[in-house]
């Protein structure tokens, strides 16, 4: 169907030059992963500046819709992070997250999104180095993929 009157639509979003810096959105539960990220900071562990953290009470507050929305609004990658199984401050929130995210990831993969773009991690409050490493690796993953073609 024609899409007339669309002469004012947005510009081409592809920016495949060398200096490509992906945008990574991360949703972190405040008890474990966010505290882990704080610990990485306390330890002055360096990691790429591409990540933007959104703090939520529990990983179970991370609506899969938010991940979808992040991608729609131009995030190149999304990370969901919570407490290790059994460590949830609310005892079982992260178990639900795990089910939801697995399904979301499977669906997105089926729709053609590279699985590296949406990832999940368990990072405890004591795993500062792990947090830094996760961000490091995912940023690299996404850099190697380039922007999502739309």
């Amino acid at each position: 169907m024609t899409q007339e009157g669309e002469t004012v639509q947005t510009a081409d979003t592809k920016e495949q030059e060398d200096g490509y810096e992906p945008k990574l959105v991360a949703f972190l539960c405040k008890w474990c992963s966010y505290a882990g990220a704080d610990l990485a900071g306390g330890g002055r562990i360096k990691y790429p500046a591409n990540v933007r953290i959104i703090r939520v009470p529990c990983s179970c507050r991370i609506d899969p819709k938010l991940v979808v929305k992040a991608l729609e609004r131009g995030a190149d990658g999304v990370l969901v992070s919570g407490c290790h199984p059994g460590d949830c401050h609310y005892t079982e929130g992260n178990y639900y997250t795990r089910r939801r995210m697995l399904m979301l990831f499977k669906l997105l993969e089926f729709l053609g999104l590279d699985p590296k773009r949406v990832q999940m991690s368990w990072v405890s409050a004591s795993e500062g180095p792990k947090w830094a490493q996760v961000v490091e690796e995912i940023t690299e993953d996404i850099k190697s993929l380039g922007p999502i073609s739309t």
Partner: protein, 655 residues
């Protein structure tokens, strides 16, 4: 009309050396809704806070973003700062530009850009913040204590002494629990009855404490501060008001029954009190064994009772009482060693459990304190104690260490040697775990002073030979196979959850682990709480505990309950979920996933269709604010204050 103030902290050079704070503040001023933006060296310092306070007044700010260190550090500080200026403390968001920006990045441009992004996100979010006020709920200042062992007794005493009502519900005819079965207690060796009986008397005399024995909690509804318990008072067949506890009835009763209290080493009557110091001293007719109830004839107790207290017609009574807090003190049971074929699968008469040994060694026990072989009543000269039966055994028992077997085994060895200094006591053990005040010393004393033989190794087999037990095992220290001819073998069976622990957990809405032990609120920081507010754990129902730990947790749990009772209303968590009933289709997915049972069904009248519908409703006082309900609901009917759909989405869209 949002008027947001943005306050960018230098944190000395911690932030300012990596982030161009001035530039960030300047650009932040152009963000939508921002009315004022500034920087300061140390925003958390007194002058920094003053600066915020003045800016709020001067620029008529209605909310603030502080770009500084992690919210886990100074969120309360800045909230207080807002509150002092008459703003709601929740009209604040923190942009974490230190831990998650300046400290982890090196490139100044990148870090500056990111800091601005983080502030933009916080600004977008704070624009959707709403003032939050914690709700308040009335509190019934009464504690329900399930279980009348030492744990429940101690908790009741603490609550009662503080001037609040406590109700103990005990399944057995008497309170006292496991401790009443013990002979002496480690490491001091004072007699259990001597220290327990005064406690039992103390609870029975305290006017604030009500005791229901031979009773069970059947159902619990409600929530913190407002629980309603249905308690079944099982028929005793004896009118407690009339009974004087004289003892004639149980002396006269012709029917002898194996005694549960004595671990089936002795007998009791059909009408009985479980042990002489029982509280209340009111007997119970065991209807399954009573001649009258079974065959319709006898009634000797009735005729012998001078006060006419025996009442065969008595029926169970179910009462309903209100409570503000529930203390779970249901205790433990011991591991059934019949799964251990190598130990005779429970068939060898002279292989007994530690608890049976306690009864045997007790001077008011079935043997009058003499240590005799159950098979033939002969004096025991050689006894073998085996530690870790069921404990630390993933295959046949439980994975955990029961924690007190080492101690009571040492005690048993010592008591045996005390009774029979010429006898031989052997202990087969895996490790000695004696972490407690004077515990290690106690074990040493058993070994060194009393000459109990400790053999490090597992027993591979126990068998009968010539009317005597032979215990075959390894001594791993000497590396030899040993065989000990023993008159008696005592197994240190594991402490495990009671058979009906899961039913109790479900009734109370508390989680339990793979061993059916109740799960504490937090393994470190909330050891006597549960995820259900107002339900507390004490004693061995949570994990095996010795008496001092049990008493300590009992006092801890009662302190938690008392804290609840310290005011007649409770202040709830302000960041709780709330369900927009106009969006609710009543699928109750939220209820299914709520870890705290904080969602109930309510009936409302739909204004549009004029019909009633059942929708979900959050019990604020139970909600911990995890947000699970907000995600499981497809229509987005539940929303979480402080982390609302609007707030998180705004934050995301600002990235």
């Amino acid at each position: 009309m949002t008027r947001i103030g943005v306050f960018v902290c230098w944190c000395g050079s911690n932030i300012a050396s990596t982030v161009d704070v001035e530039k960030v503040a300047e650009l932040a001023a152009d963000l939508p809704g921002v009315a004022y933006s500034t920087t300061y060296k140390y925003m958390c310092s007194d002058p920094g806070q003053k600066l915020i306070a003045e800016a709020i007044k001067e620029h008529d700010l209605d909310r603030a973003v502080v770009a500084a260190c992690s919210p886990s550090l100074h969120e309360p500080t800045f909230r207080g700062c807002l509150e002092n200026e008459g703003l709601n403390p929740y009209m604040l968001e923190i942009a974490n530009i230190r831990e998650q920006c300046s400290w982890v990045h090196t490139d100044r441009d990148e870090a500056t850009e990111k800091a601005l992004d983080l502030i933009a996100m916080a600004v977008a979010k704070v624009a959707h913040n709403a003032p939050l006020v914690a709700g308040s709920i009335p509190v019934t200042r009464r504690a329900l204590i399930i279980g009348g062992g030492i744990s429940g007794i101690q908790a009741a005493i603490d609550v009662g002494l503080a001037g609040y009502e406590a109700v103990i519900v005990e399944r057995e005819p008497s309170i006292g629990g496991r401790m009443a079965q013990f002979d002496k207690t480690f490491p001091t060796l004072d007699c259990a009855a001597c220290i327990l009986t005064p406690k039992m008397v103390a609870v029975s005399r305290n006017p604030n404490i009500k005791i229901y024995t031979h009773a069970e909690v059947e159902e619990v509804t409600g929530y913190v501060g407002n629980y309603v318990a249905k308690i079944r008072l099982r028929a005793r067949s004896v009118d407690a008001d009339k009974c004087t506890g004289c003892g004639t009835c149980w002396q006269k009763c012709p029917k002898r029954v194996s005694s549960e209290f004595d671990q089936h080493l002795g007998m009791r009557k059909a009408i009985h009190i479980p042990f002489p110091q029982a509280v209340p001293r009111v007997p119970v007719i065991d209807r399954d064994n009573c001649l009258y109830f079974q065959r319709g004839k006898c009634r000797i107790c009735e005729t012998s009772c001078e006060v006419g207290a025996v009442d065969f017609e008595q029926e169970d009574e179910v009462i309903e009482e209100k409570f503000g807090a529930i203390i779970v003190a249901t205790g433990f049971t011991t591991f059934d060693h019949s799964t251990y074929k190598e130990y005779g699968a429970g068939q060898l008469k002279d292989v007994i459990t530690g608890l049976q040994f306690e009864r045997m060694v007790n001077s008011s026990g079935p043997t009058g304190g003499r240590i005799l072989r159950p098979s033939d009543g002969k004096e025991v000269n050689t006894v073998v104690f085996i530690a870790c039966v069921g404990s630390r055994d993933r295959a046949k028992g439980v994975a955990y260490c029961s924690r007190l077997c080492c101690m009571y085994t040492a005690k048993h060895g010592l008591l045996f040697k005390e009774h029979n200094p010429d006898g031989q006591a052997y202990v087969f053990y895996m490790d000695i775990r004696a972490a407690g005040k004077n515990y290690e010393e106690f074990v040493r004393r058993a070994q060194e002073e009393f000459g109990v033989n400790y053999l490090r190794g597992r027993v591979s087999r126990i068998f009968e030979e010539d009317g005597q037990l032979v215990v075959r095992g390894a001594d791993t220290l000497s590396g030899t196979q040993v065989e000990v001819k023993a008159d008696l073998v005592v197994l240190a069976t594991a402490l495990i959850a009671r058979d009906d622990a899961v039913d109790v957990a479900r009734m109370l809405g508390i989680p339990y682990d793979e061993n059916r032990l109740f799960t504490e609120g937090h393994p470190k920081l909330a050891p006597v709480e549960t995820v259900t507010s107002g339900v507390f754990l004490t004693g061995a129902c949570q994990a095996p505990k010795d008496i001092p730990d049990t008493v300590a947790t009992a006092s801890a749990a009662s302190a938690k309950a008392l804290a609840l009772f310290s005011s007649d209303v409770l202040t709830g968590e302000p960041m709780v979920s709330c369900i927009d009933t106009s969006l609710c289709s009543g699928c109750f997915a939220c209820q299914e996933v709520c870890p705290f049972g904080a969602i109930e069904a309510v009936e409302i009248r739909d204004a549009m269709t004029r019909e009633n519908k059942e929708v979900a409703h959050v019990i604020e006082s139970l909600c911990h604010g995890c947000g699970n309900c907000t995600v499981v609901c497809r229509a987005g009917a539940p929303n979480l204050a402080g982390f609302s759909h609007e707030q998180i989405l705004a934050e995301l869209l600002a990235v």
